[in-house]
């Protein structure tokens, strides 16, 4: 019996009742690794992040290009940042749905019984999903470029814009993770999430110039954090500038994490 060696008595063990930050980070990375392994095992999970950017980008460009900007070509600099933000945020809903499905499995019981950071199974899953956002971001830009989109600022700022979107979507995914933890079924997570998501992404400057909207709607659209994020991406891609809109988007992201991460962990612990 080599694997089961004589055990150390409890009195001789170094026991701590708190989890250090370094352990929390290490646990999160391990959990993210688990998430990536799962994606590797079931690559069909990536269908949505591969196909959705292609379909939506082509569809929106052809539908609205003529009406809004006169032709498809001149609509692309407006649309691509908008559709990028919308697609990637939509993708983050799946995080909540999958978390719900995952939590119903027996392995979560083991995670709860292990002396690890309570937040790790959640933060790890969310971190692994940034891979999904990265795929969606890359494909959106590629489709745009194939259709004739030429961001004036060049490669560097476009990558920066992509990273900004990924970071913000990761933050927003905490909202859906919260729904994922409190909901009873995976299906209802999707339901609630889209109810929040549609007004948030469409009542923004993502697809249509704000000045064409009714006044009352404009006042909402102008404070909508999604609008700020879209503007920040356009600024980066067109003029390589990172201004107030970018900071507002990042501050919004930080605020979402500050509110929803503790809420989600608390709800998760209570379910335990």
């Amino acid at each position: 019996m080599t694997a089961i060696a004589t055990i150390t008595p409890p009195a001789e063990r170094d026991l701590k009742n708190h989890v250090r930050l370094s352990q929390t980070l290490a646990n999160t990375v391990t959990m993210a690794h688990r998430g990536l392994l799962k994606i590797k095992r079931t690559p069909e999970q990536l269908m949505d992040v591969t196909l959705q950017p292609i379909i939506f980008t082509v569809m929106f460009a052809l539908l609205f290009g003529g009406a809004i900007s006169g032709n498809v070509q001149s609509y692309l600099p407006v649309l691509i940042p908008g559709i990028l933000v919308q697609t990637v945020i939509t993708t983050s809903v799946v995080t909540g749905v999958q978390l719900r499905e995952d939590m119903d499995k027996g392995v979560f019981d083991r995670f709860k019984s292990l002396p690890i950071a309570r937040i790790a199974p959640l933060s790890g899953a969310l971190l692994a999903d940034t891979l999904r956002y990265a795929i969606a971001t890359t494909i959106t830009f590629i489709v745009g470029i194939l259709m004739g989109y030429r961001p004036a600022a060049g490669v560097g700022p476009v990558i920066l814009a992509g990273l900004l979107v990924i970071v913000c979507s990761w933050a927003i995914s905490w909202i859906f993770a919260f729904f994922g933890v409190i909901a009873r079924t995976a299906g209802s997570v999707q339901g609630i999430s889209f109810l929040v998501l549609f007004p948030l992404t469409f009542f923004s400057n993502a697809f249509v110039p704000v000045k064409t909207m009714p006044d009352w709607l404009q006042s909402f659209v102008n404070v909508n954090p999604v609008s700020h994020l879209v503007t920040a991406v356009r600024d980066l891609a067109d003029t390589a500038t990172f201004g107030a809109d970018g900071w507002i988007a990042l501050a919004g992201a930080a605020a979402i994490v500050a509110v929803f991460a503790p809420l989600t962990v608390r709800a998760y612990m209570r379910k335990a």
Binding site: M1, T2, A3, I4, A5, T6, I7, T8, P9, P10, A11, R13, L15, K16, N17, H18, V19, Q23, A26, N27, T30, M31, H33, R34, L37, K38, R41, T42, K105, G106, V107, F108, D109, R110, F111, K112, S113, L114, P115, I116, A120, A272
Partner: protein
């Protein structure tokens, strides 16, 4: 706060309520360090809920419990460093391979990359899973899954291991293998708290047994003590005429000196049988009293008898319970 560490588990008055259902209704348990302790009871008796509370998976509504002297409510993270939990339904990641599962749990428990690799290889070898290590778990048999689950609980070499129905649903050969593993585990100095529905299993493995029913501990002792309370074996009689029931029970009390339990339909009697010799006297007495038997048999004690004797009701599900209560009234009337 550190209490005496002579006890691996010390629980007093644990209560857990789900809605109207008091799943655990004041359970007391004390398990000596280094022992194998069996919690015996039917489905829904509160075994899993009790274990979940002791393993910090559920918060008790009332009562207190200590694992090696550490409070399960105040020192959860310490308790988690001292326990390994193997749940009734394998708590492993279905989408991953056995190898990946053990690697991830090892890394989570703070082993370095190379330590985790070594530990994983050792455990796979120990539990006979090396060949299947890279296959997805979906193709694993129930026994393989349980073995992997147990392996995962042993990574940190915890001094206390909870095994929730470790052999339920396994075939006899796999069950024997599991028993063997549990015995070797104990030889290394681990304390094991296992739940089971089978008296036989508790008998084979456990030093002490608690019988739990409807969220309460109804009896506690060694396997021998428990069996003694229901007789080494039990005598089952079926009466030709159910009307003779009370006379027959009186005869049993006089001759064997024990109380017989009547079955719900009133024609079958079960009595603990301490000595086969005295049964002859009973049969003579019954014939002299003109009580005729339609059937007689001798049975080794089963969980059913332990239950019948300790609680006055069987291990049947709720509907059967209600039916027997109704029947009981009819008999009394």
């Amino acid at each position: 706060m550190t209490r005496s560490s002579e006890w691996a588990v010390e629980a007093h008055g644990l209560v857990k309520t789900f809605g109207d259902n008091r799943a655990v209704d004041g359970v007391d348990l004390t398990v000596r360090a280094g022992a194998v302790y069996g919690v015996l009871g039917p489905n829904g008796a509160g075994k899993t809920t009790t274990i979940s509370m002791l393993a910090t998976l559920l918060k008790p509504d009332a009562g207190e419990a200590f694992i090696f002297g550490h409070d399960i409510r105040k020192e959860q993270q310490v308790v988690r460093q001292l326990i390994g939990v193997t749940a009734q339904f394998a708590s492993v990641d279905e989408t991953l391979s056995a190898n990946e599962n053990l690697m991830i749990f090892s890394r989570l428990l703070g082993l370095s990359g190379s330590e985790a690799k070594r530990k994983t290889a050792e455990l796979l070898e120990e539990f006979g899973l090396t060949e299947a290590a890279k296959r997805p778990l979906k193709k694993f048999s129930g026994g393989m899954r349980r073995r992997l689950d147990l392996a995962a609980s042993l990574i940190a070499q915890p001094p206390l291991i909870f095994l929730d129905e470790p052999t339920t649903g396994l075939d006899p050969r796999t069950r024997a293998q599991m028993w063997d593993t549990i015995r070797r585990l104990v030889a290394t100095g681990s304390t094991v708290l296992l739940t089971t529905q089978y008296l036989d299993e508790a008998d084979q493995l456990a030093d002490r047994i608690a019988v739990i029913d409807r969220g309460r501990v109804v009896a506690e002792g060694t396997a021998d003590e428990l069996k003694a309370s229901v007789g080494e074996s039990s005598l089952q009689l079926r009466l030709a005429d159910p009307a003779d029931l009370e006379d027959a029970r009186r005869a049993i009390r006089t001759v064997l000196g024990v109380d017989a339990v009547a079955s719900p339909e009133g024609s079958r009697i079960t009595a603990p049988m301490r000595s086969a010799d005295t049964v002859t006297d009973l049969f003579v007495t019954l014939r002299e009293a003109g009580i005729h038997l339609s059937e007689m048999s001798v049975q080794k004690p089963t969980l059913d008898e332990v239950f019948l004797t300790l609680t006055g009701h069987g291990v049947d599900d709720d509907t059967a319970d209600r039916a027997s209560a109704d029947e009981g009234e009819k008999v009394a009337a």
